[in-house]
Symmetry: C2
Subunit: 200 residues, 2 copies
């Protein structure tokens, strides 16, 4: 039983993983310091030494959520046609939506103020944005370079796609999207901003 050094970063990751599990099963409401502390085999102070308090833990969960969102988008675009194909922008949108449906609690923490006192720190927000929105910008730039799509600015095209994907996912998670075939509607609506920039 040779316990490795167990660096501070390792322990942080461990606690975040536990918190993520609680978040997934019981929602943001079940996230109490005492609970995740005992689940991690320690005392309440553990969270304070590792994260400085609940907002700090919230920030870590926020970052973890964006990491997972980025992963979901990444795996979706990996099975899509090669760079330059507008289909990749659609795949990213589908990955975005898939994450929201798979991890609604994380989604609420990231976009819905689900943790009472917590607002994400500016750098954390910027990093999350870069890891996710950056993928959309890349795909858009490739399409512009390949000439499959036309637009003044790759960022603006990417933003349009992002806004659509987020609106779709957010409304669906909120239970406000009363449609018979949501999947079909999702495809139609995600395709719209792409078709608007089709080369012809």
């Amino acid at each position: 039983m040779t316990e490795p050094p167990a660096t501070l970063e390792d322990r942080r990751r461990h606690v975040v993983e536990i918190a993520a599990q609680v978040l997934a099963t019981d929602g943001p409401h079940g996230l109490s310091l005492r609970r995740i502390a005992t689940l991690a085999g320690g005392s309440t102070q553990l969270v304070y030494t590792l994260f400085g308090g609940k907002p700090g833990l919230g920030d870590a969960l926020y970052a973890e959520g964006f990491r997972r969102l980025a992963a979901s988008m990444s795996t979706a675009v990996d099975v899509a046609p090669p760079p330059g194909d507008p289909e990749r922008l659609l795949a990213l949108g589908r990955g975005y939506r898939a994450f929201a449906l798979a991890e609604p609690a994380f989604f609420s923490v990231m976009f819905g103020r689900a943790i009472p006192g917590f607002t994400p720190a500016r750098p954390t927000r910027a990093a999350g944005r870069a890891a996710t929105f950056g993928q959309v910008v890349t795909a858009a730039r490739e399409c512009l370079a390949a000439g499959t799509l036309v637009a003044d600015d790759a960022e603006e095209l990417a933003r349009a796609c992002w806004v659509t994907a987020h609106g779709l996912a957010a409304l669906e998670v909120s239970g406000l999207l009363a449609v018979d075939d949501v999947d079909a509607f999702a495809d139609v609506v995600l395709r719209a901003p792409v078709e608007a920039h089709r080369a012809r």
Copy 2:
């Protein structure tokens, strides 16, 4: 000093108004039963007799939020060109965004999970949806009838506009939309789903 009957509904409205004020100034985190009770000149029980608890108050705030959102959309479309003009769909989107920016706390209660234990009751959700999304459907139907826009289904057109407006507003409230001129971008992105259905 002849106190009028002060019906139950009146008192409910009064407390909701107080809660809305607290929500606007201190955010969802400042919404405590004791606080709004004392602000209303009563005891904690007040909230329980009027709403049955905090989730009940949350439901009332949720409904109030949709009432205000509907009002914001309504006033925006009132100064727009007459029915049948696609400009009306844009106006509704602008009203949607204006509400989100003016009342971000309400927006979080309605579309995030800003009140810890609360999930909106199904009828409340349906009513809110009808009061807001219904306006979009109406405007879309008028455009289809006037022949200014073409689409298979008015609802589908309306949904596309709604998704765009919501995505834009939600991302902006979350502080994730890093653009120089947000207003200009908002106009561009809101116009996209409308232009996609232009008659030609």
